[in-house]
């Protein structure tokens, strides 16, 4: 994600928040009000996530990932998040660090464990989602 995309996403959320606030002034129906409040929470959560990524120094510009280190499957398996080792996973031949990724509690994620090539599992669940661009790249898989 580059700076312009980040700025556009924050602005889009702020515009939605302003529209929702305008609507809140107009409604007296509690059902509608709850819907609008939920919408506000969603926008705030979006902005918080974007800021969190920024503060964590997650790679805002991943156009030149660090792919100098080359992993074999056997080497990758050592980085399983246990016994002092960081948690790495490979997707589409790129190796990412998920050690402190919130969704990887205990170095596991929806029954998956770190230290493996998860290309198939990733494409089955997260295809098209801009998740990988937020992760730190630590190398690439051997050809």
């Amino acid at each position: 994600m580059n700076n312009q995309i980040f700025k556009d996403m924050v602005e889009a959320n702020i515009n939605e928040i302003n529209d929702t606030i305008d609507l809140l002034y107009l409604t007296s129906n509690s059902c509608s009000k709850n819907k609008l409040l939920n919408s506000l929470r969603k926008n705030i959560s979006n902005i918080k996530t974007l800021l969190q990524d920024l503060q964590n120094g997650a790679s805002i510009n991943n156009s030149q990932p660090n792919t100098t280190k080359v992993f074999t499957l056997d080497e990758l398996s050592k980085y399983n998040g246990k016994d002092g080792n960081p948690a790495y996973v490979a997707v589409n031949s790129i190796v990412y660090d998920v050690t402190n990724n919130a969704a990887w509690g205990g170095a596991t994620h929806f029954g998956l464990t770190a230290g493996r090539d998860l290309t198939k599992a990733f494409s089955a669940c997260h295809a098209g989602e801009p998740i990988l661009s937020k992760l730190k790249v630590v190398g690439k898989m051997a050809e």
Binding site: S30, C31, N34, K35, L37, N38, L40, R41, K42, S45, K48, Q52, G81, K82, D83, G84, N85, P86, A87, T99, N100, A102, A103, G105, G106, A107, T108, H109, F110, G111
Partner: protein, 295 residues
Amino acid sequence: MNQANINCPNFSLKLETASVLVNKVIDGINRNTMKKRKLVWLELTGCSGNIISLLDGANPDFKSLAAQMVNFIYENSLMVAEGEAAMKKLFSVIGDDYILAVEGAVSTKDDGMHQIIGRWKGQPVTALRAITELGENASHVIAVGTCASDGGISAAKPNPSECVGIQKLLKKKVIKLPGCPCHPDWFMGTLAYIMLCGEPELDDRQRPLMFYSTLIHDICPRRPYFDKGIFASKLGEKTCMFKLGCRGPVTRVDCPLRKWNDGVNWPIGDDSPCIGCAMFGFPDKMEPFISYDTT
């Protein structure tokens, strides 16, 4: 949760959602502007934990629901009728207007013969038959709890009775309230909303946004510890349990705010990691529930 969050009107309003909706329904019924709807609650292949949880509801409580809000037609743990008389009541609603709440998954092996909920006209009534006949005829179907929503514990590996969530057996949309068990507010608020306005706004997995819009991690009182990288290394420590395998970051529901047992506490408040019981794929995809020696 820190003091600033407690005072946020958005949070306090969220806590009032279920009671406001239920009181509006009761008020409408008392003023004769609304009618009580018939409610059928089926306990299928599960542990009956959701009906027990509902009985533990407070503000709104179960009495408000049963006495003032709906005509409770069938609930096998609570009703007086038994045997064929109970089954007669159950099937009497077909052709009439009713809302169906279902807890438990549905056993499909051997044509459903691993889960018999009663006998009707001399024949065993399987959970499979009950859900297909009563589900398609209901005005709305609510899956109460994780097993009804997604198979849950009843469908956990190796799933010998071939249990499935109820959506897999019904063509119509099922409103899903996952959680093991379902919080009383989630059910009563959803039911009241249906009676007032029809189907509530749902996410892409058919969960009502009014209860399931927030990740636990985003409103967790221990979130500041996560942000600062202060992690518990064993159970009992008061810091972030992410390294122990907490599933709060992937579980979307409002437990940190609403809490349980009349707002007394919730798992993380008692130093236990979230095990993701309200998330699809629970329990198999949420295991291991606890991890040690992680980095």
